[in-house]
């Protein structure tokens, strides 16, 4: 069986994977033992990657288009679709100028894809309206680095985890979001018991629970905490004045600012104790090697830049940068956010870490590309771009490899924008995304592992991404689509020759070579790298200039920073609160975050049934006291409202939050959920410098939703097929969600609730969509007055479908049973009875904690009750012995055995 080395396409850790295939389809994925990032390990998401590689209806298999909005899209050829796109774009550009079109791309594109799109927007069209979903993810980190260190370059590396003496994690939950890095942290702690782990997070996440010191600060008060810690560093003589004087500037202003950030005041602002602040500062300052890891908790804020800068201030003030085991290291959310930053495919960037507002930089790039000038009008960043689309300022948009109708905040506006647009082109691999529904032209894109190029991970390491199988249907690599379109657009604009000159690419490698050239003499100089070097020497960290023999593990060891005067600059960061604070009408602060087994908008991870077994549905988590105060019942449905939108969800009691806070996983969009998804609630207020929206904080109100009529539909078979059919059903109910269950056999799950039973016609339509309408093979129960109708389908003796309406007591055990092919005869007498307890012999398993080895919470609890510790759990049940992602949870289950815990 052929094996191909590649990189996992989920998070920014950039784990190496080895993909096995039979040449047509992927048969398995395992960790690459030679890759520096993971050394053979994979998390649950990565380990199940092979299950996401499909060529069925879950994929966009051919171009589709519609001539006007009243029509449904129909299939077309590439020529038809791209010609139409080119003509329409050209018309808009001719009539309204180049800034009336925009490109919205993705941190999941390969560097080469990014490069071509950037060239298309800036070089051919002549607009800076190109931005990436990295705007929602890392732009505060970018600006944070640039304002302090002079350039967008994470100075530390993963190897520092093993060398650090103190690890400071702020606004990140690597146990869930970067599990492989968290494995490295666990190992480092095992090898060095003196290693201090400090975690700053309003929630007691699995990461926080593993810490030596957890600072559960109030949401959005990070700057105050960091300023306070700096205050303590100064007060306790832990500042490195030699370093400050030799290599930095701007310290005095900051020092004046932090004067008033006494531990006492900061304790009040942050809601933690003075002792905790002092302890954190002492460990940070005294360790000799403190490594900071941080992510969206700092970035997705209206003060994201300040959050980043204030943390970097601490490293500069204590001289903990450029040394082994020390320095700030932002964890990137997406697999190639870094690559996008390198090629400058964002409104505020240019290739090679250049700045579009800098005329010199524009001239350099223009020269490289062979165009006379680059546009100087500022481009629209993501949130602005959709606002402009809504106002009509932008009329046509090209969206590639991202899903703004799920991921942008304030969905109401985003959807209005997409409806308002004259032309929406969506270039996408997965057919079911929320955004695909708005496409006038839908283009089939190849995705992992069907295309090749490079990606850069959080520690500046560039790896080759290789294709293991050919793309399905008519799908093509993203850069190919962009380049093909560029040729046609060029022709339509009368710039055919320029297009030919700008986009001569036949191979990804040619693009990489162009990109490489653009980095010459820049801080990220990779002129020494090539596909050949990457293939022979393996993944390399930049800079890797011409003539270098190896990459660069760590930056700024010499104290020289890439700023005008080679000094780092302290950023004066006074604390300012989040944009939307809880008040009497919206009394709760909504936090968002990630689940362990899902990724982003679930267009990929949502296809895999077993990735639903850890958390099977979105639930609003709130502190038990808040539930009690509001008279809410665990598991009951609530209506959660912000100033922008509302959702109906089940509620879950969770002591790992503070009272006054609520938590919602970020993953669920309208594809799985009635309404406009989680981001219907979130705030689109942005950081003025980084333009990153404050996805982390919104003020919400929560009230019980009185929806007594409930429904659960279950269907085994090709669940993905049914999922798309059932899409329209979601909107018919105030609460509805689609999901998957099962492991080897997948079961589609549709849950819904309403005030009253819908009419029978709607239910029979649902039966048809679910293929349950075969009366000869169905068991039925009907009590119209109570709004109860239950139906069970059995095929070849096994239960393969169920529609329980009005009474759904049996749903859980039926679902469990269907996932393992339960025979109807085993439960015939009970199957439609209102039984929530499974009939004897039909045990419910509960959620799956260890996804690799399929070990459920119930099974683990049983062992723990019998006195098992972690070692014996691993011995007895084998849970937590494969990828290790569940180890923090296992520890917590042991610690809180018997107590209610909701952490996912």
């Amino acid at each position: 069986m052929p094996e191909v080395k590649s990189i996992c396409c989920y998070c920014g850790t950039g784990c190496g994977v080895i993909v096995t295939s039979d040449g047509v389809s992927v048969t398995g994925v395992r960790g690459d033992p030679d890759h520096h990032a993971n050394r053979g390990r994979l998390c649950t998401k990565g380990a199940n990657l092979h299950l996401t590689v499909r060529s069925d209806a879950t994929r966009v298999l051919q171009p589709e288009l519609r001539l006007n909005r009243s029509q449904a899209r129909h299939g077309s050829t590439w020529d038809q679709a791209l010609n139409m796109a080119a003509e329409r774009f050209a018309r808009v550009i001719r009539d309204h100028g180049p800034d009336s079109v925009a490109f919205y791309v993705s941190g999941q594109l390969l560097t080469e894809d990014y490069y071509v799109f950037n060239k298309l927007a800036r070089g051919l069209v002549g607009t800076n309206n190109i931005d990436s979903n990295s705007r929602l993810c890392m732009s505060s980190a970018v600006v944070g680095y640039k304002t302090t260190l002079g350039s967008d370059a994470p100075p530390a590396c993963y190897g520092d985890i093993e060398q650090a003496k103190c690890i400071f994690i702020a606004g990140a939950n690597p146990a869930f979001a970067h599990p492989i890095l968290f494995r490295r942290i666990e190992d480092a702690k095992k090898h060095n018991p003196d290693l201090k782990l400090i975690v700053v997070d309003p929630r007691r996440t699995d990461t926080a629970a593993s810490a030596d010191l957890h600072l559960a600060i109030l949401p959005g008060t990070d700057v105050a905490l960091f300023n306070g810690m700096l205050h303590v560093l100064l007060w306790e003589g832990l500042a490195d004045f030699a370093f400050i004087h030799a290599h930095t500037e701007g310290f005095d202003a900051l020092k004046a600012t932090v004067r008033e950030y006494t531990p006492k005041m900061v304790a009040q602002l942050c809601g933690v104790t003075e002792a905790q602040i002092i302890q954190a500062a002492q460990w940070f300052g005294q360790s000799g090697a403190t490594l900071s890891l941080y992510c969206q908790g700092l970035n997705q804020s209206t003060h994201g830049t300040d959050n980043n800068a204030a943390l970097i201030n601490l490293h500069l003030a204590s001289g903990q940068i450029g040394k082994a085991g020390a320095g700030p290291l932002s964890l990137t959310g997406q697999p190639n956010a870094m690559g996008g930053r390198e090629v400058g495919a964002m409104a505020t960037l240019l290739p090679g870490h250049r700045d579009p507002m800098n005329a010199g930089h524009r001239a350099e790039v223009a020269q490289l590309w062979g165009v006379p000038t680059l546009p100087e009008r500022p481009g629209k960043t993501a949130v602005e771009m959709f606002e402009a689309l809504r106002s009509g300022e932008i009329k046509a948009i090209w969206i590639a490899c991202t899903n703004p109708a799920q991921s942008l905040p304030h969905q109401q506006l985003v959807r209005e924008a997409l409806e308002q647009a004259e032309l929406v082109v969506v270039q996408e691999a997965f057919a079911g995304t929320e955004t695909a529904a708005y496409a006038d032209i839908l283009l089939p894109a190849a995705t992992w592992p069907e295309k090749e190029g490079t990606m850069t991970n959080s520690e500046r390491r560039i790896s080759r991404v290789n294709a293991a199988v050919p793309p399905p249907g008519a799908a093509r690599a993203d850069w190919e689509i962009a380049a093909d379109f560029a040729h046609r657009l060029g022709a339509a604009l009368g710039k055919g020759d320029l297009a030919k000159q700008l986009f001569p690419y036949k191979q990804a490698q040619q693009i990489f070579d162009d990109h490489r050239a653009s980095t010459r003499d820049r801080d990220l100089d990779i002129t020494g790298l090539s596909y050949a070097v990457l293939e022979t020497q393996g993944p390399q960290q930049w800079p890797y200039p011409e003539g270098a023999q190896t990459g660069t593990a760590r930056l700024y060891g010499d104290g020289v920073f890439p700023s005008g005067n080679q000094r780092a600059r302290f950023s004066d960061t006074p604390y300012r609160p989040a944009a939307e604070l809880a008040d009497a009408r919206y009394p709760l602060t909504l936090l968002t975050g990630r689940l362990r087994d899902q990724w982003h908008g679930m267009s990929r991870s949502g296809l895999v049934a077993r990735l639903w077994s850890h958390v099977d549905a979105p639930r609003l988590e709130m502190h038990p006291l808040d539930l009690e105060r509001r008279g809410l019942k665990e598991g009951g449905l609530v209506r959660v409202k912000s100033r922008r939108g509302e959702l109906v969800l089940p509620i879950q009691s969770c002591a790992e939050l503070r009272p006054g806070q609520a938590f919602l996983p970020m993953h669920w969009g309208s594809r799985f959920l009635s309404g406009q998804g989680v981001n219907s609630l979130t705030n689109n207020a942005c950081d003025p410098q980084s333009h990153q929206p404050e996805l982390k904080h919104a003020a919400v109100q929560v009230e019980a939703a009185h929806l007594p009529w409930q429904m659960v539909a279950l269907r085994s078979g090709s669940a993905a097929k049914f999922m798309d059919k059932l899409q329209p059903v979601l909107g018919r109910f105030p609460y509805a969600m689609l999901g998957l269950a099962g492991r080897d056999a997948e079961v589609l799950v549709l849950r819904a609730a309403a005030e009253h039973a819908p009419d029978t016609a709607a239910l029979s339509e649902l039966e048809q969509w679910l293929g349950l309408d075969d009366d000869c093979h169905a068991l039925t129960y009907r009590d119209a007055r109570r709004g109860i109708a239950k139906r069970l389908l059995a095929e070849e003796g096994a239960i393969t479908g169920a529609l329980l309406t009005g009474d759904t007591a049996a749903a859980e055990w039926l679902m469990d049973g269907m996932a393992r092919g339960l025979a109807l005869d085993e439960v015939r007498n009970w199957a439609l009875a209102p039984l929530s307890a499974p009939p004897s012999g039909q045990a419910s398993r509960g959620k799956v904690v260890c996804n690799c080895l399929n070990v459920s919470a119930n099974e683990i609890e049983l062992e723990i009750t019998a006195g098992a510790d972690l070692a014996s759990l691993q011995e007895q049940l084998k849970c937590g012995t494969e990828c290790g992602s569940c180890v923090p949870e296992l520890k917590r289950m042991i610690e809180f055995s018997g107590a209610e815990s909701c952490k996912n």
Partner: protein, 808 residues
């Protein structure tokens, strides 16, 4: 005295059942004569189908043979058809001239099969399906002929068709309706039925009418349908319904209208003449099923026996098809209609279809196909008209699912084998009960309790015993009204038992039972505690208290809680406490890890969650008197602050309360007794809802009695106003002693007062001074002999043994 003459025309099931009932109720009242047109004695007509099918014989279905008539002195005229009634002379005449005069006449002439008025209906081989003669004809035809046609797809028609098929004939059923059994089944169920009958080889022609019957050589040869089709037929069975046989009654001038019209006592327009069975039109309905006929028989017999209390108000009927291998049941209004609601279950793969029809939260109809195990239960619910809203969602899944999930899907009673135990307390098996019911002709739950002792102890199997009764008796079962006797163990009332104990000076439960001829050797859970109380209250010190006759709370001297632990309430006189007591309570709470401590409504402290074996330790450590919070005894005396501290207080109510509590503490009573003393008419101690409430006024104390704050709040009535605290004690004590001596066990004061009236109490307590003093003296004497139960049990000895774990 000369016996009255009772003559019955007709010797079928309804009539003979009436005679059986009459003989039971008034065996010597009548001289009975019976005329039967058939040559047989009384047989079970509804079992003719199994006979036709060859599954039973005529012998199997005989109910009463000629000997039975002889044994009961009944003159039986078989093969004699009565043709005339002379109502003036009160004589009936048979065809052969036999005559009999009557004082009362029962017409039980039954019904005739309806023969369609078709050309050829008089040919040989065209018959109905009514009696043994018809069965013989069919059996004979099956031996010589091939083709049978049954006209009519009703119950009888299908049973006939099935029988003929089993006898080897090629059978076609011609039915006019859209589906089979349209009066018993809805279309869905009927389609399932048709399919299974077709699988058995039967053929069906639905929505077809017969034009004529074609004969050949005087015997039927074919059936010609209105659509022109012709079907070969060597035998035609007409099963298109029955017509009440009212010809005789009509000829006698008795009002008939599709049957002999009767009133609710089964009398015709001639009050000397009764009619029962299929010949009757009752409230416009002529019944063709056996259960209603039996109900009529019961009522008719009751009236004939000159009891005159029974009334027949019509029946709800249920249907079963007697075709082996086909489970079908329907009852009531199974097709539904306006204002009804359906619950439907369908499992075509499993061959099951069920439909329940509800109206106003009551089951009004059921139609079951393929799985009829719950039919009897549904029928019971339907007849009882019980509100099923609470079990609606479980209803379809059977009785065993209601509150008892996970059982096999059967009616529990029907599914039980004879060896299975029903009553765990007395070790009674299902077989014992069924046998007792059949052998002794038991009809009521109490009968079963008496004969078998099942359900006579803890009572948790009562429902199951009722089910067994219902399923054994079928339509004959009806739950009996509660008897006035103490319990099923005796016919004596509480008052009689008390009187006997007093008059005969009986001192133990066995003595009482023996003297009063208890039916059961050891009594039951309702009579034993009552007798025990009557004994110790009547003969304090002398009668022996029997702990085993007390409820668990009184045995353990603590209240058992739902988790099996106990609660402990020490006495706090008048609601007063002090630092030392509180400290001890706190120490006990720590020592025994008491999970909940609560201040009660009666102004004391309740410690919950005490293990039984810890009780003596807790009592010892508390070192406080028992609060009797568990007993039929003096509970609390609630007090207000009173004149000592309260600005409004007119009397020292707190002290009065303490005095009362100390005076009456340890007093057993028919039920719990609560007192309260308020120091002014503002009544902060809520004295108006206590058994005895005392309210201080400027000039003394007012005593109120018979208040109750329970399920139904009763305000106490004014008894008397007295001057001094001593009077309060004497008057209220006398009142309580009267209650103790005269109330029934488990009567609260209010219930007793409602029965005897306040005037009676006033006469005894107020007007009769000597009597009052004697009552008070008897109370004091009774209390004097009581020890504090907790103190008794904190020292090792017999009393403590109850709490010691048995180690083996």
């Amino acid at each position: 005295m000369q016996k009255l003459k009772l003559v019955m025309v007709g010797n079928g099931m309804a009539g003979v059942r009436t005679l059986e009932e009459v003989l039971k109720l008034a065996p010597d009242l009548y001289e009975i004569t019976v005329f039967g047109a058939e040559p047989y004695a009384n047989y079970n007509r509804i079992m003719l189908s199994p006979v036709l099918a060859g599954e039973q014989t005529i012998q199997d279905i005989m109910l009463n043979d000629v000997d039975w008539y002889a044994e009961h002195g009944i003159q039986l005229h078989l093969n004699k058809k009565v043709v005339k009634i002379d109502r003036k002379a009160r004589v009936v005449f048979a065809e052969d001239g036999t005559e009999a005069s009557y004082d009362r006449l029962i017409l039980a002439t039954g019904s005739n099969p309806f023969i369609l008025p078709l050309p050829g209906n008089d040919l040989a081989g065209v018959i109905g399906f009514r009696d043994i003669h018809d069965v013989d004809a069919m059996v004979a035809a099956s031996q010589n002929h091939k083709h049978a046609v049954v006209i009519g797809g009703g119950l009888l028609g299908l049973e006939a068709a099935n029988g003929l098929k089993l006898r080897g004939m090629d059978v076609t059923v011609v039915h006019i309706g859209e589906w089979l059994l349209e009066r018993q089944l809805d279309k869905t169920a009927a389609d399932l039925l048709q399919k299974s009958l077709e699988d058995k080889g039967l053929k069906f022609l639905l929505q077809k009418q017969t034009e004529q019957i074609i004969g050949k050589d005087g015997r039927v040869a074919a059936l010609c349908l209105k659509d022109g089709h012709e079907i070969p037929a060597d035998l035609v069975v007409m099963a298109v319904g029955i017509r009440p046989n009212s010809a005789l009654a009509e000829s006698a001038g008795i009002h008939c209208n599709r049957g002999i019209v009767v009133n609710d006592t089964m009398q015709t327009y001639d009050p000397r003449i009764y009619a029962v069975g299929e010949c009757v039109n009752h409230r416009g309905i002529a019944y063709g099923l056996v259960a209603p006929l039996f109900e009529m028989a019961k009522v008719c017999a009751n009236h004939l026996a000159e009891m005159g209390i029974g009334r027949y108000v019509g029946s709800v009927t249920s249907t079963k098809l007697k075709v082996t291998g086909i489970d079908l049941f329907s009852a009531g209004n199974f097709s539904g209609g306006e204002n009804t609601e359906d619950i439907v279950f369908s499992d075509p793969m499993g061959g099951v279809y069920k439909k329940l029809v509800l109206q106003d939260n009551k089951l009004v109809g059921a139609c079951l196909y393929g799985d009829t195990v719950d039919g009897a239960w549904y029928f019971q619910l339907l007849r009882e008209g019980r509100d099923v809203e609470g079990i609606r969602d479980q209803l379809m899944f059977g009785q065993s699912r209601v509150g008892d999930v996970g059982h096999q899907g059967h009616n529990k009673a029907a599914a039980m084998t004879d060896e299975m135990e029903v009553c765990g307390c007395n070790g009674v098996c299902k077989g014992d009960i069924v046998k007792a019911i059949k052998l002794n002709g038991l009809f009521t739950l109490d009968d079963v309790k008496k004969h078998t002792k099942a359900a006579s102890s803890c009572g948790s199997c009562t429902g199951l015993v009722e089910q067994i009764l219902a399923s054994t008796l079928g339509g004959d079962y009806s739950p009996a009204p509660a008897a006035k006797s103490m319990c099923g163990c005796t016919d004596h009332t509480h008052e009689e038992a008390r009187a006997v104990i007093r008059e005969q000076k009986l001192l133990s439960i066995p003595d009482v039972m023996q003297f009063m001829q208890w039916r059961t050797p050891n009594g039951c859970a309702s009579c034993r505690p009552a007798l025990n109380y009557y004994l110790i209250s009547t003969w304090p010190r002398e009668a022996k208290d029997d702990p085993q006759s007390r409820f668990i709370n009184e045995r353990a001297h603590a209240n058992i809680q739902k988790d099996g632990t106990y609660s402990v309430v020490p006495r706090m006189w008048g609601g007063l406490t002090n630092a030392a007591d509180l400290r001890r309570i706190a120490d006990v709470a720590d020592k025994y890890a008491v999970p909940m401590i609560r201040v009660t409504g009666g102004q004391r402290i309740d410690l919950f969650g005490i293990k039984k074996e810890d009780l003596p330790g807790v009592w010892a450590d508390l070192d406080m008197p028992s609060g009797h919070a568990y007993g039929k005894a003096l509970r609390t005396v609630k007090t207000c602050v009173g004149s000592e501290f309260c600005r409004f207080g007119t009397q020292n109510s707190t002290q009065m309360g303490i005095d009362l509590e100390k005076a009456f503490y340890k007093m057993w009573a028919p039920h719990k007794v609560k007192l309260a003393v308020s120091g002014c008419p503002r009544n902060c101690a809520e004295a108006a809802i206590k058994d005895v409430g005392v309210i201080g006024v400027d000039s003394g104390w007012e005593i109120y009695v018979g208040g109750n704050g329970g399920i139904k709040t009763e305000v106490a009535e004014f008894l008397v106003k007295v001057k001094s605290a001593e009077d309060v004690l004497e008057y209220s004590g006398a009142f309580l002693q009267l209650y103790r001596e005269e109330a029934r066990y488990l009567d609260r004061t209010v219930h007793w007062l409602q029965r005897v009236g306040l005037d009676y109490v006033k006469k005894k307590v107020l007007e009769d001074e000597a009597g009052r003093k004697a009552l008070y003296a008897r109370l004091m004497f009774a209390i004097q002999s009581e020890n504090d139960p907790w103190k008794e049990r904190t020292v090792a000895g017999e009393a403590r043994r109850e709490f010691e774990a048995l180690t083996v």
